[in-house]
Amino acid sequence: MRKALGLTGLLFALVLFTTIWEAAHEDGTISFLTTPNIRNLLTWIGLFGILSIAQMLVIITGGIDLSVGSLVGLVGVSAAMMLNKGQGLPPIAVVPLCLGIGVAAGLWHGLLISKLDLQPFIVTLCSLFLFRGITRLITGDQSQGFAGAYPGLRWFGNGFIGGTVAAPFVFLILLAVVIGAYLHFSPAGRHLFALGANEEGARFSGIRTDRLKITAYVLCSLITACGGLLLAFKVNSLGPSDFGNFFELYAIAGAVLGGCSLRGGSGNVIGVLIGASLLNVLRNLVNILEIPSQLEYVVIGAAILIGVGLDEFFVRRTKTKARAV
């Protein structure tokens, strides 16, 4: 939990820095903390935060899911194809089908990883290619979209509550509450951490590790599928070959920034929320501060390094303090 402190500090520092920088430059108007920008930010934090929360579940088990971006692509494109611009299946059928794709993908990963004992990195890396290939195959490489149909359904991806609070952000918060309760306050959640920290030990103490692992991967892919649907509703232009590319890296970055260890056994929901927020604030301020686009990745990479470094610093300091006492 302490890990998120440094990160929160960094987030505040960034918000403050951006505001001051804007106030001190040019005409002094501050665009960063205006309603339109908050609306944009909350939307993207919501959309990418969902993916990070999903990723956190498998990272806690000591695994990883690299297929997130491709699954987002597959689910989004499938939804658009099945809805077929108002000519296809009704949303009431399409949404469960798309979530079903997520469950199937998770089950596939979980079974391969727990029953065949394959490494998560390899299994999900293969899925990254598999899902992307399937997406391109079913569409014939033609971009998909909703062409203005289903405004009600798409509200979940691009709508606002009370004009400011983005619908995906609300979804993220609800999800965080549910997953937080599951992870931090339920026996199953405790078992998940135990599994990630020491799989053998967890098994010997009577935890059904295989079943738990499969659950983690199913939940991860199911939540990713939800995220994929919302992203599709928001973006509305789904290139089969590129929609969702690199999203797994954003998801992992958000989770790791938020204090998840890739070795497994640690991580918390609030940290991940802040990690995902930080990533999106960074991307946003590159444009707001009119930093040349070429520097975008430099800024993001450097800031993640600083964030992780700060975390490590705080953790070590508290450890030394504890030893001194």
């Binding site: 939990m1 302490r2 998120a4 402190l5 929160t8 500090g9 987030l11 505040f12 918000v15 040019e26 005409d27 108007t29 501050i30 665009s31 960063f32 903390l33 205006t34 309603t35 339109p36 920008n37 908050i38 944009n40 909350l42 993207w44 490489d141 033609q142 971009s143 998909q144 979209g145 909703f146 062409a147 203005g148 004009g163 400011t164 931090h184 928001k234 973006v235 509305n236 232009s237 789904l238 290139g239 070959s241 590129d242 929609f243 590319n245 690199f246 918390n268 609030i270 940290g271 929320l273 802040i274 927020s277 991307r283 946003n284 444009n287 707001i288 009119e290 686009s293 975008e296 990745y297």
Partner: protein, 337 residues
Amino acid sequence: MRQCIVPFALLIAIAACTPSQPPAPSDTSSNTATTAEPVAPKPEADTKVKVAFVTNNTSDFWAIAEAGTKKAAAELGCEVLFRRPATGTAQEQQQIMEDLIVNGVSGIAVSPNDPQNWTETLNGFAKQVNVITQDSDAPESQRLCYLGTNNYDAGKAAGELIKKVLPDGGKIMLFVGRIDAQNAQDRRKGIEDTLAGSNITILGTRTDETDRAKAIANVQDTLVTNPDVACLVGLWSYNGPAILNGVRDSGKLGQVKIVAFDEEPETLQGITDGHIEGTIVQQPYEFGYQSVKLLAQLAKGDKSSVPESKQIFIPVRTITKAEVDEFSKTLREQIGH
């Protein structure tokens, strides 16, 4: 957990408490000539006009356009934000445009990656600022104007060049980043229509999703599977160098004809060396220059430059060995090195 809740709640509180209106400039009274223009988020009175130019990827092609935008900015005394989406996806373009609007630009010239599905998104932006499309059009949207190449004509020019380099006919293959982009479709159509009825057959179109490594691999695979292919045609700017590299690596320089689009330095060098037959060039410098000029006029409410058809076509040129030196020289002058 408790330690994090407080700062996080604080952040949410900050977000909730920010003014619901963008801060208005202090002297709104001095300039009320905003007429029926779409209202920019920050209707500034005497400050510089701020406009933006959004590309669809990070190709060299856009460096020339950027030079054009800079010249227009210097001439008109306005500010230009030039944005290149690194991943070249519609989602990234969308985020960039949202941020630009927050940043108070009065108009945006964008090259949309997926015009059909993006119509609604573009319309959303068009309600807030002046939106024009450049390079690739979204004809169904409420964009004020399209400024760029008539890609069908560009395709026809390429078709004519292909006919010239393959007088005895043969098989050709097309290469492009994404075939669902309007400009790619129009160019292909132009080539198809020009070659219809001739003894030249089009084997197909290979796409690489703007992954340049894959673009080269596509070329090499084609040379393996179709050893009798007579001419390779690259529809997007980086496809020219990709084809050249692929052909060179396969040891087939001189055996396969190459026709390219646009003016990447490697393409021009290839023409000088005689490895590439020719290239159909657009005039990206003009895209940049005229887009900014148009946006600056629109910012003042002057719509006189927008034609009835809402399309401003900038003609293409065919550059072969005869023209390449003169063309390269002008290009160097435009970019300024």
